[in-house]
Amino acid sequence: MKKIEAIIKPHRLEEVKEALNEIGIKGMTVTEVKGYGRQKGHKEIYRGAEYQVDFMPKIKLEIVLEKEQVDKVVEAILKSARTGKIGDGKIFILPVEEVVRIRTGEQGTDAI
């Protein structure tokens, strides 16, 4: 099993969700996060003074899935989250040791 963590632009979330639904991904966890990379931050103006704000608001998407689904999901996120401009985000793929569904106690892929 794998976990996909994707950092995306907040306004792409709806498109990404739709694209994942279409390929049969039925659940995900979403967190509002802040961060910066090559995009750097942005400028804000308060009372005539400019302030550099480094941290940009982003969305972190977490999906746990079977190993075989990974390529399909990555492709769907790439297509739906991409704007072509700097700051589109990143996808991280991590191994997952075990998954347990709290209600039933099921384990492994049954619990996804």
Binding site: E44, I45, Y46, R47, G48, A49, E50, Y51, Q52, V53
Partner: protein
């Protein structure tokens, strides 16, 4: 024996209520500009003064300010605990309304003035020392200055210094105290290296609205009668505020390429503060010019703060200090006896002496209020310490000074 006029009494009572509203209005005006962890700590520093200063005003404040004159410097204590301040009019002040109505109207001014200072040391001052400072400041700065300018026999009043609703008494005095406070307290941890972004500007705009609304009582009510002069001051106040708003937005749009909401709010308050001393002495069209000058000059005063290096967190110096000073000076230029026969003529009406006495007023109030504020803060800092420790500053005043938070997760 003067008799009570119902219309005047109703008008001054309503005006007093309007001025009271300015203090919670100011609290949320300031609160919007601080970070989420200091919202309540900022609000309460204004709000608590409604109690602290009113108590002071009852027992000694009113008497020191408006009691029988002693050598032009201070009122004596014959009005201690409002002794003799009753339903009959005073024979000196606002002679058509009950003496206690004049007293409560003036009380609201005494409350908001030290509240204005709190913007200078926002986000780092301990609550206890803040109370001590505000109380001593009211006694040693506000009351004497109020007596000099507005008290019958006050030495600045006798020199012919004009201040309709508090350019010297309120705005310049709090502005220079704010400068002293920013210097003595020192900058917030991280000042200059990390951006301190206002956490809720809609709150600040709501506060601006409440301040503007209250300001009609502040300036209009300072006519102390429901008459033509009150109307003139009311109109001048609105014109000053709107012109300051417009001027700030335009100049920020030119220099920073963006018209900002905080700029609009700041410009309105700058225009209102600037027209305050002049509201009852100048024509409506002069008020437009004075308000616009307020927005323009205060913009550059605030922008220049970063170069001077002191951390006046919410720009009390640049907006109230500079606005009060500028407005007091503008009386010397734009005042007209046609607007207020009890006033004087300014430069544009051929009188050169008024602007000289206005400058004496500015220098004496400015120097006195700055010096006493600075000494007070130094002494309090020495004895009990003004600032929270660095860890508390990091956690925020809401939690560390008051054990509560403005917004639950």
């Amino acid at each position: 024996m003067n008799s009570v006029q119902p219309a005047d009494t109703a008008f001054v009572l309503v005006s007093a209520a309007l001025v009271l509203l300015m203090t919670p209005g100011l609290a949320i005006f300031y609160a919007g500009m601080v970070r989420t962890k200091n919202v309540l700590g900022t609000i309460i520093q204004s709000f608590i003064l409604i109690s602290v200063i009113t108590v002071e005003w009852i027992y000694i404040g009113y008497s020191m300010s408006f009691g029988p004159d002693v050598q032009g410097v201070i009122g004596d204590l014959s009005f201690f605990a409002l002794n003799g301040v009753g339903q009959a009019p005073s024979d000196t002040y606002a002679t058509t309304v009950p003496h206690m109505v004049f007293m409560i109207f003036q009380c609201m001014f005494a409350v908001i003035t030290p509240a204005l200072i709190t913007g200078a040391f926002a986000e780092r001052m301990r609550f206890g020392p803040f109370i001590v400072f505000s109380l001593l400041w009211a006694v040693l700065v506000y009351n004497p200055v109020c007596h000099w300018v507005w008290g019958s026999g006050g030495w600045l009043a006798r020199l012919g210094v004009l201040d309709f609703a508090g350019g010297l008494v309120v705005h310049l005095s709090c502005g220079v105290a704010a400068l002293a406070a920013a210097l003595v307290t020192g900058a917030r941890t991280g000042y200059g290296s990390e951006p301190f972004i206002p956490h809720n500007l809609p709150l600040t705009l709501l506060g601006t609205g409440l301040l503007w609304f209250g300001w009609f009582g502040f300036n209009g009510g300072s006519a102390l009668a429901a008459n033509g002069l009150a109307g003139s001051a009311f109109v001048a106040t609105h014109f000053g505020g709107m012109a300051g708003l417009a001027a700030w937005v335009v100049v920020e749009w030119i220099y920073r390429r963006k018209p900002t909401t905080l700029g609009a709010a700041s410009g309105a308050v700058a225009g209102l503060a600037t027209i305050t001393p002049a509201a009852g002495f100048v024509s409506p069209t002069s008020a437009v010019i004075i308000g616009a000058l307020g927005g323009l000059v205060c913009y550059f005063a605030v922008a220049g703060k970063t170069k001077l290096g002191y951390d006046d967190s919410l720009d009390v110096v640049g907006i109230h200090g500079v606005g009060g000073l500028l407005g007091t000076l503008c009386i010397g230029i734009f005042a007209s006896k046609l607007v207020n026969p009890a006033g004087s003529d300014g430069l544009i009406f051929g009188n050169t002496s008024l602007i000289m006495s206005q400058m004496i007023g500015i220098v004496s109030v400015g120097v006195y209020a700055f010096a006493v504020s600075w000494i007070l803060l130094k002494v309090i800092d020495k004895i009990i310490g003004l600032r929270v420790d660095v860890e508390s500053e990091h956690l925020g005043l809401d939690l560390t000074e008051h054990s509560e938070t403005a917004y639950s997760a």
